[in-house]
Symmetry: C2
Subunit: 638 residues, 2 copies
Amino acid sequence: MSDRKEFRDLASPEAAREAIDSLDIGGGTETVGLAEARGRVLAERVDASVDVPGFDRASMDGYAVRARDTFGAGERDPAVLPVIGTVHAGEAPAVSVEAGEAVEISTGAVMPDGADAVVMVERTSERDGDGERGGDGERSVAVETAVTPGENVMLAGADVAAGERALGPGTRLTAREVGLLSALGVESVPVRARPRVAIVSTGDELVRPGGELDTDAGQIYDVNTYTTAAGVGAAGGEAVVYPHVDDEADAMAETLTEAAADCDLVVTSGSTSASAVDVVYRVVEERGELLLHGIAIKPGKPTIVGRIGDAAYVGLPGYPVSALSIFRTFVAPAIRAAAGLPEADSATVTGSMATRDRYEAGRRRLLPVGLVTDGDGETLVYPVDKGSGATTSLTEADGVVDVPADTSYLSAGETVTVELFSPDVRPPTLLGVGEDDPALSRLLDDLARPRYLARGSRPGLRWLRDGIADAAVVAGPVEDRPDAVELGGWEREWGLVVPAGNPADVAGLADLVDRELSFVNRTTDSGLRTTLGAAMADLADERSVDRHEVTDAVTGFDLDRRAFESPARMVAAGDADAGLGLRATAADLGLGFVSVGTETVRVLAAPDRTGKDSLSRLEARLADLDGYLDGLEGYDAE
Amino acid sequence: MSDRKEFRDLASPEAAREAIDSLDIGGGTETVGLAEARGRVLAERVDASVDVPGFDRASMDGYAVRARDTFGAGERDPAVLPVIGTVHAGEAPAVSVEAGEAVEISTGAVMPDGADAVVMVERTSERDGDGERGGDGERSVAVETAVTPGENVMLAGADVAAGERALGPGTRLTAREVGLLSALGVESVPVRARPRVAIVSTGDELVRPGGELDTDAGQIYDVNTYTTAAGVGAAGGEAVVYPHVDDEADAMAETLTEAAADCDLVVTSGSTSASAVDVVYRVVEERGELLLHGIAIKPGKPTIVGRIGDAAYVGLPGYPVSALSIFRTFVAPAIRAAAGLPEADSATVTGSMATRDRYEAGRRRLLPVGLVTDGDGETLVYPVDKGSGATTSLTEADGVVDVPADTSYLSAGETVTVELFSPDVRPPTLLGVGEDDPALSRLLDDLARPRYLARGSRPGLRWLRDGIADAAVVAGPVEDRPDAVELGGWEREWGLVVPAGNPADVAGLADLVDRELSFVNRTTDSGLRTTLGAAMADLADERSVDRHEVTDAVTGFDLDRRAFESPARMVAAGDADAGLGLRATAADLGLGFVSVGTETVRVLAAPDRTGKDSLSRLEARLADLDGYLDGLEGYDAE
């Protein structure tokens, strides 16, 4: 075990930020067309090379005149002028205006020579009559207002004049700037290049999403590659995804060297096993420089910062939650800066801790938290800590609370500031906790931004009792029910899921006890498990034996699985003869089913939250369940 | 004029929003790979189809054991267990753990059969000695702590269980959701399709940016195409840019019909001339439905909403400021909704009006405004109204104030709420107004987010006096100088810009008076014009005549141009014999130059704003000007 690297001299977060900021990660210039310019950052000033408008332009529909000819005109005493021609937008005037004449003109058209103002059409009335200059034309116009020289005319260059500074370097291009550039006739602009960021996940156990997983050999899907790539894109960089590499020295050295030659920044993740770190060290030390390893922050301690060749290098931890936290905190700001983007908008929310939360001292902690609004509209903050190995922590949290190294706990009710993951984050409208159920999944699809934690019935009741959840969804018999408002519910048929055709001819629970059948149960958090327990107790009563006598006789009664489909899936995989489950699940997976009974699923709301819109909407949907139960075998509205 | 369409029955903004919301603009589904999923919106629920992790996984580096074997162990009384093998991440365990044995295990590795807990490596010490099961192996480990069953183990499905609801429809995919999808092995997801939006600019006078402009024929660059396309992209749509069409009936009908067949929404702009509107009407009425024309809002009255075939149709006004305002207010929200995106973040700022601003009553107005921070850190709001034909209004404003139809003025000092164009908008750090100057352009490039309005010296002094601008940049003699702090300045050589080689042999100002030469002046707002006026007055004094006698003798003395390069450009174009300008401009454009004198350019700061960081930075740069003047002929630090 002597070759295990440990991270003993941890850098402070401030030092880590400085180290990453000291790296050079791009900042070149490229030229893009206006159609691709949105969101990019100007690399150089753009001066106008033309006048806008390029000519004296009518800014109203009406008549081009010499202003002097309208002096004194009014509705009662209009100036009647012959109309000697027309100018439309996009054509050169064919006539010029002499004293006492008018030319009909469209908005945007070139002012004819001799005219210095436009009378808007609404202040005129055209008359038949002699008009054309020197001939027997027919048109004249009665001008019912006086105009001043220049009125309703935009002079050449009045908007932007040639030579004028139009946009400065560093300007982020939105529709508005694209508009100004269009007006100047600029078709392409020099912008800051997007830093190229190589993404290399490492680990013998990784399989790219979409591939086949050998779970017996401990394979898992590669989470960090696409997650980091998405983060790079959001920070204004260009992600270059490399195939993940095994912890094998030569292959990793080759990939890192190639990536460093091609990109501005190389980001690896997961190189924390002993052999991998050795390889990274060797490459960094041979071809670059190691700036730090280890940051005094949680999650994310095992982080490496350095250079490989001319490229910057950051080694992220392997656990997705840690990797993304370090990326967001340290790497994304450096990419944004290199791309010329302003610092990311951050948004904070103040709330109070819903529970007490304790910490080991020693490292600053970015505590992932979820948010929920209580009945008074106040924000409650609860920690989301499923371990850094859990990817669901990524989506069950809304932001982080920055807990200093010397803080050993946050008290319930303590006011904390939550930095949202981004200003786009909208906390959920509803926080539900409880039983997993296919009808519930459909109901949730019909609500706007619900958060539902399928932890089981017991945790649901606990979260409700603790004043965190808005609603709990519980199945089966409920002991010690908290004060709650029942919003509705449904019945579901449960029993034993068996292979298709029921080859072992399982007849019911008694067979589990009396025959050599392997069984898969659900965890005790599950309401269905409680329902099974009650049925087993009934069976024991029938036989006048102790409950444990029957359950101990079931092979696999303690083999419990968290999710409602898991036992059925084990049956489908041939790993068990029967599993605790629902008729609907068996039908869905094409398995056999031995019915044991029905149980009620109830949706319970916290009494002080019933004013929340989301609970009203949920209640309304519960009142008309048929659509949601459609096609679910064994389901019935209560 | 009888065929001019007018917009008499204006729809209320609310009715316009309803009309646009009633249109069906897409909402289909497409499948994208994880690498392209960022920013997209899930069209359907994603349930987990695998357990995560897929096996019972060690969550620490250490030793897999039976927990029972560690009960009672501590530092003083460790449990010494033989180490019978090793399991790395990504491999199937080759051994199983019997009572009294340990297996070395890496984070992420599969728990070997028989083991139910992991002792973290930090709480162990490995010893040499007999270890291998049944043989003369060498390894054993002293376990210095007790662990409970399940400790440091993540059970299969504990993160996400197969069948569990993972992400609901309508979820916007960020790095975090991409992470969860990766963990589930999902490689592609069903997302809301981006509404396809056809963009058709209309007008005989339009030329696509990059093309050659015939200004004599009233041609202008097409601003709305790329501007609207950028807006469509920002709203989550896919812009399909069509070539702009003339106001010719058949071509326009054909393009609109084709666009409607190919896209979900057709957006035209500029079809407000009589003939174009007729064509649009005909197409909409023949092939669709007209829902409204004309909205009671300013800018943007001439807007059309309807259907063409199966596509939605919106006709925007032609003026870019109006077009973008209507797009932003009415069209972008509809595109976002169709794309499944939440309503755009909006951000508001409260400030006080810097000046009184009057309105014609009758139409609700979205008044474009700029923001500046005064010396007390308070936000001042000033109207940006260069006419809806001015594209610079696009970039000189930071947001809009919503002024109700019945409000006829806003008072100076009145508190107003400004809706920023987007939450990304950062008001400028510095507001300068005054003379246009090439050295100043370079200085501005070196400041972060300055806004400079090159209106000329006189407006600069006025904005300073009115307490709006932070700084004024003035050239030449200053009469009636307001109370101000001079931050610095420089000298520039001015005179007459003439064709290269000075073919007319112009010697100085007297030649303009005495010879038949055509001249181009600057506007009276320009400091350079004031300097010229003073020189002309000196000439008149020399000749003992009235000042007007000399200026009246100059052909073109009243032909004034706004920007500092404009007279020189007219000389370059052969439209004048001499123009008022700078030596630097003549050198830059390869023209001849007849020196008349030098003038000082001064940067004046508002005394109550000198505490602003941006002014300190400007002053520091002014103290060391050499780099900025480099290569500018006729420039000298003061």
